[in-house]
Amino acid sequence: MEELIEKLKKEVIEQLNLEDISPEDIEADSPLFGEGLGLDSIDALELIVLLEKNYGLKIEDPKDGKKIFHSIRTMAEYITEH
């Protein structure tokens, strides 16, 4: 799990063009939206593309997105479970 979390941090930084942010700056449990990394709605769509492109996972119900993309750890848990 920890290995996947570190990999995801790098992928999120690259996919979302988070300049000046390094993997060490992202806490695995911190919220990605709102007070966390301050991501917006377009970033949310990019994260959906990331899961599909890199892990072959399609989110069927958009309502699940809020839970899945809460933090890097919840993303990692979703990938592991599916």
Binding site: N17, L18, I42, D43, V49, K53
Partner: protein, 213 residues
């Protein structure tokens, strides 16, 4: 009512000037990203959204930033701003990136953050967001820089009392070739308000041609 050009910026490969003075030179760059990123960092704006923009928006954003920082913002009613820009390549630079991402059915992963920039007037939106500008805007496409068309359009907006001030000019980018003239136009009365306030060049197609040379 007569109007003046109170500041302008010019960005061409390797060079950035403001009001005719050199602001930045880098003759050794290869890509646009390599050219604009160090300069943006030097501006120290603390605006991370810049890195998410497409190249055309980055170009217009920096050009507008350089022009607007020359003048006293408090003099403006930001709800009565005009932005009238033009270029040759529209958003083709980004359109091609998007097209590439959907050209292979087995690798069909269009990027939402690329797709949102597949219109040139999104650049105007980025400038408006940054400076909280509202009012009239237009993006025109022409084969080459046409000062007369821009002048007439901006003049109409002033004559119909739709705007108090206007950013206008040419912001073109395709691959790593780029060409910008961004100017700020405002009524003489603002200049006469007693504030120290930038240049006082007459706003005309002839002046625009001179600045574009």
């Amino acid at each position: 009512m007569s109007h003046i050009i109170s500041s302008y910026s010019r960005i061409t490969p390797g060079s950035i000037t403001v009001n005719g003075q050199s602001e930045y030179d880098d003759e050794n760059f290869i890509t646009f990203a390599e050219f604009i990123k160090p300069f943006f960092k030097r501006l120290d704006l603390g605006y991370p959204k810049f890195y998410k923009m497409d190249a055309l928006s980055k170009l217009g954003f920096v050009a507008a930033e350089l022009v607007l920082r020359q003048v006293n913002y408090d003099l403006y009613d930001k709800d009565r701003a005009g932005i009238v820009l033009a270029n040759r390549s529209s958003s083709l630079d980004t359109d091609l990136v998007h097209q590439q991402s959907i050209s292979n059915r087995s690798q069909y992963f269009p990027s939402p953050s690329v797709f949102v920039y597949t219109l040139p007037n999104i650049m105007i939106g980025e400038i408006c967001i940054r400076h909280q500008l509202k009012g009239e805007n237009a993006f025109l496409i022409s084969e080459k820089f046409e000062s007369r068309i821009l002048f007439d359009y901006v003049n109409e907006l002033f004559m119909h009392n739709r705007i108090d001030f206007c950013l206008t000019g040419w912001v073109d980018l395709m691959k790593d070739k780029f060409d910008v003239l961004m100017i700020l136009v405002e009524p003489v009365r603002i200049v006469n308000s007693g504030e120290e306030h930038g240049l006082t060049l007459p706003f005309s197609a002839t002046t625009m041609d001179e600045l574009y040379k």
